[in-house]
């Protein structure tokens, strides 16, 4: 780690507790050490595993091409000197005391608390056998056991997770129907051309995609037998996956006094209104200067990268100078690599910059007032890398839209 120990000295901090031992929690511990903090770090996680990578759960891990060991986030030579309290839930947070109470009855007091509890999948009230959500490695193992060749899978929701599960299930010889509530898969976020390309891709692998339908209920008594749509129509199924979005895992903060209505509300650097309490990753709604309001981003790269900004703020007490790269996400579906970078507020103009829908190598750029603000590519890794870099510069020069939506839209699993 860095030899610069100024962090601890300048801040007077001796101990930091991180709640949530996954991507953002791990990145927070790494950032603390990299920025010279040599005090005590306590990491509390309710999963029994050391930090692991979630994106493969709907991709390589689901098809059996990756093991849990492959998913570990810790580097081979990593020495973070962290006290791990795993398999243990945080039940509450007392902000003035910075005291975290645990499901074991113990509690941990420290000089600062970083909240990194991520999100949980939305569920239906009736989660009978054969109905799955996908968030943890246990979820993926349970789902994989149900994805036997010839089984009929219905995926409710045409966001990324639903579409990736559909693709993985097809690869396993499963019969797949995706039921989406919008006009096209993903369309609310990315626009019609991109959505049509995704639909085409899915259909080319034999996935049935139905749009503009709402799944009302799952059918069956002990085990699922199908789903019912809002129109009353019933569709048979042996397995159902709900990819209907997620919500921030902030239930344990109910009594903390923090504003957690749409994620943990923070400033531009992840600091909450309570001194010494910060939030990072999927559960955090950082103030977004371009949107003019707090906004929750559920992307892997943001969850990994933002903690270093929060830590800089925590250790120095000053406003960090480092800027954020544009949001970035990828999705692997039906043999195609989809990449997205940037920030969409709605109403952008879209142009095709390279490739095409038919050839499966589409690259489109979103512009606001003539300035590129985002890009999406299908199998265009090299060009996407170039676009990502150029977006960093232009994002700063973009003015916010005249009307800023106030309500948080229903989040899509790792949506933009």
């Amino acid at each position: 780690m860095s030899t610069d120990h100024a962090g601890t000295a300048a801040s007077g901090l001796k101990s930091v507790t991180i709640v949530g031992a996954s991507l953002a929690g791990h990145a927070s511990a790494r950032a603390l050490r990299a920025q010279g903090f040599d005090g005590r770090i306590t990491m509390i996680g309710d999963e029994v595993h050391r930090p692991y990578d979630r994106p493969p759960l709907s991709k390589e891990f689901l098809t059996g091409r990756a093991t849990l060991e492959d998913l570990a986030l810790e580097a081979d030579d990593e020495q973070l000197d962290v006290e791990w309290i795993l398999g243990t839930r945080a039940l509450s947070l007392d902000c003035p005391e910075r005291l975290v109470t645990l499901s074991t009855g113990q509690s941990v007091r420290s000089d600062a608390v970083m909240i990194a509890t991520g999100s949980v999948a939305r569920r239906f009230d009736r989660m009978i056998d054969g109905v799955h959500t996908l968030r943890t490695v246990e979820d993926a193992v349970a789902l994989r056991a149900d994805l036997v060749p010839g089984a009929r899978l219905v995926v409710a929701g045409s966001g990324f997770i639903g579409l990736e599960v559909a693709s993985a299930a097809r690869a396993l010889g499963v019969d797949v129907t995706v039921l989406g509530s919008s006009q096209w898969p993903l369309s609310r976020t990315f626009g019609d051309t991109v959505a049509a390309t995704v639909q085409r891709l899915q259909e080319s692998r034999g996935v049935r995609v139905r749009n503009n339908v709402i799944v009302d209920a799952v059918l069956g008594t002990d085990r699922v037998t199908g789903v019912r749509l809002s129109t009353g129509e019933q569709i048979d199924a042996d397995v159902v996956v709900l990819g209907i979005g997620s919500r921030p895992a902030v239930g344990w903060l109910g009594e903390s006094g923090l504003d957690v209505r749409a994620g943990v509300v923070c400033d531009e650097f992840g600091a909450t209104a309570a001194p010494g309490i910060l939030a990072v990753g999927d559960c955090a709604a950082w103030f977004d200067p371009i949107r003019g309001r707090a906004h929750r981003i559920e992307h892997w790269t943001d969850s990994r990268d933002r903690p270093s900004i929060s830590v800089a703020r925590l250790l120095s007490g000053r406003t960090p100078r480092q800027g954020l790269r544009p949001s970035y996400l990828w999705s692997d579906q039906c043999g195609s690599r989809i990449q997205f970078a940037g920030r969409l507020l709605g109403g952008e103009e879209l142009t095709i910059e390279a490739g095409g829908v038919e050839t499966g190598d589409l690259l489109m750029v979103y512009r606001r007032g003539g300035n590129p603000v985002a890009a999406v590519g299908f199998n265009q890794t090299r060009l996407m890398a170039q676009w990502r870099k150029s977006l960093t510069v232009s994002a700063a020069s973009v003015s916010p839209p005249a009307t800023v939506p106030v309500a948080e839209p229903l989040s899509q699993p790792f949506g933009a």
Binding site: L73, D76, W300, T301, R304, T381, R382, A385
Partner: protein, 112 residues
């Protein structure tokens, strides 16, 4: 091994050399330093030449793992294993690379 003339490799630019196996990536940083590492990310099959060079660090164009070009160390996951580095010398304005004798850390399923 002579790679190219330094004048042909502008600062901020990377060059993929695939006449060796596995291929290597040669980076000229904005600060004027030149580094050579294996081109293939240790996480999955991606070319680091296409990645994002910032300071002495390159970020993989796929899942954004970061590697320190000086040591090959992983600075940010999902990669777990460091990238093999190669010694670079600049002689008479030419970039020379001495291919490391160490085993490369190729990702699962990739072989050369």
């Amino acid at each position: 091994m002579r790679i190219c003339s330094l004048a042909d490799l502008a600062p901020g630019v990377a060059l993929r050399v695939d006449t060796v196996s596995p291929p290597i990536a040669v980076f000229h940083t904005e600060d004027g330093e030149v580094f050579a590492v294996d081109d293939t990310c240790t996480h999955q099959d991606a070319s680091l030449t296409d990645g994002w060079l910032e300071g002495c660090e390159v970020e993989c164009p796929l899942h954004a793992s970061r590697f320190d070009l000086r040591t090959g160390r992983v600075d940010a996951p999902p990669a777990k294993r460091g990238i093999r580095t190669h010694a670079v010398t600049i002689t008479d304005g030419d970039v020379h690379v001495l291919i490391s004798a160490a085993e490369p850390n190729l990702p699962p399923g990739v072989s050369y």
